[in-house]
């Protein structure tokens, strides 16, 4: 069993008291999201329109970005009510000079001066454990609104909608340790207590949130267990950062056209190898391909992160192996000392640093070095792609040899299985993790 030690991030103000909380019954006095406090509870409800077509362009701009305003307004309201552990806008931040524009933030307040806890990192799917902290224990004041699809074909908003216990609402809650402004958690069907595991419905919900917010700088992310999720209760994260993430700038190479107009590409010239999904005749087409891929990874026990970018139009899927290397003692102490946990945001190029010296000395090389450790090796990555494609039943149609203008983007069909140095620098040596039994394709 592989474990790493780390200090968990506090996502809710009720997480700290977790130990003294065993088996509380009856009105617990905290106005939480459990049976004791939910009867009669009311929360704003935003119901989005389920459309069957992806907007072909931005031609029809809604007159008013409703979800965006609701989220920002409710979040700022919690700022004024003092619910956050620190003011994230008081944390210094900068774009690191270089070609990629990695973003660094100095955040000395996020890190608890608490002893590290052990996390099991070799199992991507673990059953829900009611005795551990979960989001039904948060106070209702931390919930911003309920988020669901509208029954008719129209966006609806109810400022004071009763919480329907039988319907298990999906909710958007604040993260009390934000890494940027507007940092929230989307918790699908919160009362069902789903473990951290992607399913079609929940992923589509997350995609709708990105698309409804309609702001390219509001991105939604997901960390699987083993890829730095700390709470085993299904949740997505999201926040605002009005700069382009380095991963969004990375060139891509198309691998194949998939059903429903979805195009799958491979990220090039980026320290972390991964896939990009875009296009699709409908949001659902895109969502299904990505969630099928995620489900394949989790079923094969491969930890991964997901970034939903460009208002839901581009989705990055990044299998990773950092926690595993860390548990096996293969990560240098220099990297470990920074205590940066490479979750989805770090992988996308937004580095939250805990120590002043790391912030002051932040460079593209350092960021690259860390992320190169996160990435699967080229060999393993190609294996994983094959597993995914097998699962989503799609024959890989490799484009003809020499189909790209840029010479280091050239590759041959035969070449796909070889370990290659995509950035051509030869500087980052990604450790090769041998394929594990669990990762074999199952028939």
């Amino acid at each position: 069993m592989l474990r790493i030690k780390r200090v968990p991030t506090v996502l809710s103000n009720y997480q700290k008291e977790e130990s003294e909380d065993a088996g509380a019954t009856g009105g617990c006095g905290r106005n939480c999201m459990r049976d004791c406090c939910l009867p009669g509870a009311k929360l704003p409800l935003y119901a989005f329109r389920k459309s069957d077509k992806v907007e072909s362009s931005d031609k029809k701009e809604p007159p008013f970005a409703f979800l965006d305003s609701l989220l920002l307004g409710e979040w700022e309201d919690r700022v004024e009510r003092g619910l956050f552990r620190y003011d994230v806008t008081a944390c210094e931040t900068k774009v690191i000079p270089g070609d990629y524009g990695f973003v660094a933030q100095l955040n000395e307040g996020r890190h608890l001066k608490k002893r590290p806890t052990e996390f099991r990192v070799d199992k991507v799917l673990q059953p829900f454990d009611r005795s551990k902290f979960n989001f039904t224990k948060v106070g209702q004041e931390e919930i911003l609104f309920q988020f669901e699809s509208s029954e008719d074909d129209e966006v609806k908003f109810y400022p004071n909608a009763p919480v329907n216990i039988n319907n298990s609402p999906s909710v958007v809650a604040i993260n009390v340790s934000p890494i940027e402004y507007g940092h929230v958690l989307l918790i699908p069907r919160i009362l069902e207590c789903l473990p951290q595991r992607i399913d079609h419905e929940s992923f589509l919900l997350a995609l709708y949130m990105a698309s409804e917010a309609g702001n390219p700088y509001f991105r939604v992310g997901y960390n699987s267990l083993g890829a730095f999720a700390t709470i085993n209760h299904l949740h997505f994260q999201a926040y605002y950062l009005a700069v382009t993430f380095p991963i969004e700038k990375a060139p891509t190479r198309k691998i194949t056209d998939f059903n429903g107009g979805v195009v799958i590409s491979e990220i090039l010239k980026y320290p972390v190898r991964g896939l990009v999904f875009e296009g699709g005749y409908s949001l659902e087409d895109l969502s299904n391909v990505v969630s099928d891929s995620c489900m394949c990874l989790q079923d094969n026990n491969i930890p991964y992160n997901v970034l939903i970018s460009d208002s839901g139009r581009r989705i990055f899927l990044l299998p990773q192996c950092y926690a595993e290397k860390q548990a096996l003692g293969e990560v240098s102490s220099e990297l470990l000392d920074t205590q940066v946990n490479p979750a989805v945001w770090e992988i996308s190029g937004h580095m939250v640093l805990k120590r002043k010296e790391d912030y002051d000395g932040a460079s593209e090389e350092n960021a690259w070095r860390l992320l190169a450790e996160v990435s699967l090796s080229e060999e393993r990555f190609q294996e994983v792609i094959a597993i995914i494609f097998e699962a989503i039943s799609c024959a890989v149609v490799v484009t003809e040899a020499g189909s790209l203008g840029d010479e280091d983007e050239l590759r041959d069909v035969e070449d796909v299985d070889q370990v290659r140095d995509v950035d051509g620098s030869g500087s980052h040596k990604a450790g090769i993790v041998a394929g594990k039994q669990e990762c074999m394709v199952q028939h």
Binding site: G73, E74, V243, K249, T399, S403
Partner: protein
């Protein structure tokens, strides 16, 4: 009701900088380009050349006042769109091949080059010019989408035929010339699909040269016609823009926020307004030049409670948020109860850079926003401003170096 001031500001965007003949002169250039104004909310097109209208199939009225993204479509590469967005924010030029859509829905490749035009007096960005040179697809080995599109273009009847056929023919000639030079690189001829990938479209030197010619013609035209107004423009930033007012990139981000608010500078004596939103100008009836640089107290009148002012000043001095209800007056003298919320806004260094003051006319219903509580709407402005200011500073740090 808000159309009128918008239309005027678009007219003025050109008229303020250039003498009266500039439109005609620009129209005589054989290039396809647009001029956009990042200082107007929504970053609209304020000028579109005759050649551009021909190429896109739209009439001038359909284009002026709109954002350039109206020409993009489902297969436009999102990464290129993002690169353009980033260049605008960083106030620099960019060249990228882009799949645009004709009014009739037909996609076509262009080499897009956008560059900022600076004001000579203070070095601020006043306009962006977007030059568009059509790229004709090269013959492909596989039966690709493109040859089909080409066919479509040429077979399509109607008025569209003339203009596009025109450039089809031109391009056919230039194509062969360009092709000759490329035979040695035959391997590099793209076979990738057109969808989503700009790499599918190889830009030749010819197209790059045409872009360069267009840039130099447009710049010399703009410089020439700005001379007579005394408000000179330049394609280079002449002096560092460490102005008291906010830069173009922050202006663009703030321009997206469709509510009444101002930013004031708490580090300057008497806390002057450094940014005023369009809705603020609509609410108060003042023009932008009448409010920038002034303290908000000009909105007060004889019935205004003096102690409220003290509360506001106190809030700024202590760096705390506050909400007050204050009697204000419009330019025409009519009073209104202003439900005012203000909050400090920090920059990328985590220091307070501005105070945002969000006004709300208490008599004005918020019908358009369904039932989002007025306080939440107000706070959403604070949030949006915080995000914009924080992020714009992060980029400034890099471009200063």
């Amino acid at each position: 009701m808000e159309q009128q001031p918008m239309g005027t500001s678009i007219e003025q965007s050109i008229n303020n900088r250039y003498s009266i003949w500039v439109r005609e002169a620009l129209d005589e250039l054989p290039h396809s380009f647009t001029i956009t104004d990042p200082l107007i909310s929504g970053h609209p097109i304020v000028f579109a050349s005759r050649e551009f209208l021909k190429m896109s199939g739209y009439s001038r009225e359909e284009v002026i006042g709109k954002n350039g993204r109206m020409f993009q479509g489902s297969r436009t590469n999102r990464r290129s769109v993002m690169e353009i967005r980033e260049a605008i924010r960083e106030e620099r030029s960019i060249q990228v091949s882009l799949l645009n859509y004709h009014k009739n829905g037909t996609p076509f490749w262009i080499l897009f080059h956008m560059f900022p035009v600076f004001s000579k007096e203070d070095g601020r960005v006043i306009h962006f010019v977007g030059v568009q040179v059509p790229i004709m697809p090269k013959p492909r080995r596989s039966g690709s989408e493109f040859s089909r599109i080409e066919m479509n273009l040429c077979e399509n009847g109607s008025g569209f035929r003339d203009t596009v056929l025109g450039f089809c023919r031109r391009e056919v000639c230039s194509d062969t010339v360009a092709e000759l030079g490329r035979i040695s690189n035959l391997d590099q001829i793209l076979t990738d699909d057109t969808e989503l990938h700009d790499t599918a479209c190889k830009v030749s030197d010819l197209e790059k040269r045409r872009v360069n010619t267009a840039i130099s013609n447009i710049v010399s035209m703009l410089t020439h016609y700005s001379e007579s107004t005394g408000r000179l423009v330049s394609d280079k930033r002449c002096c560092p823009s460490n102005m008291s007012l906010v830069g173009a990139s922050l202006n663009i981000s703030l321009g997206r926020i469709k509510q009444s608010f101002v930013l004031t500078d708490p580090h300057k004596s008497d806390f002057p307004i450094v940014y005023a939103s369009d809705s603020f100008l609509e609410l108060t009836g003042y023009g932008r030049h009448e409010v920038l640089g002034r303290n908000c107290r000009f909105l007060s009148g004889k019935e205004t409670d003096v102690s409220t002012h003290l509360q506001i000043t106190n809030s700024i001095q202590t760096g705390k948020a506050c909400t007050v209800c204050i009697l204000n007056y419009r330019k025409n003298g009519s009073p209104f109860w202003n439900f005012l919320h203000m909050s400090p806004v920090r920059n990328a260094s985590g220091k307070i850079a501005y105070f945002v003051e969000v006004q709300m006319d208490l008599n004005c219903g918020s019908h358009e926003n369904k039932n989002l509580r007025p306080e939440i709407r107000q706070l959403s402005v604070v949030g949006a401003v915080k995000v914009a200011v924080r992020s714009s500073g992060m980029i400034a740090t890099t471009s200063d170096s």
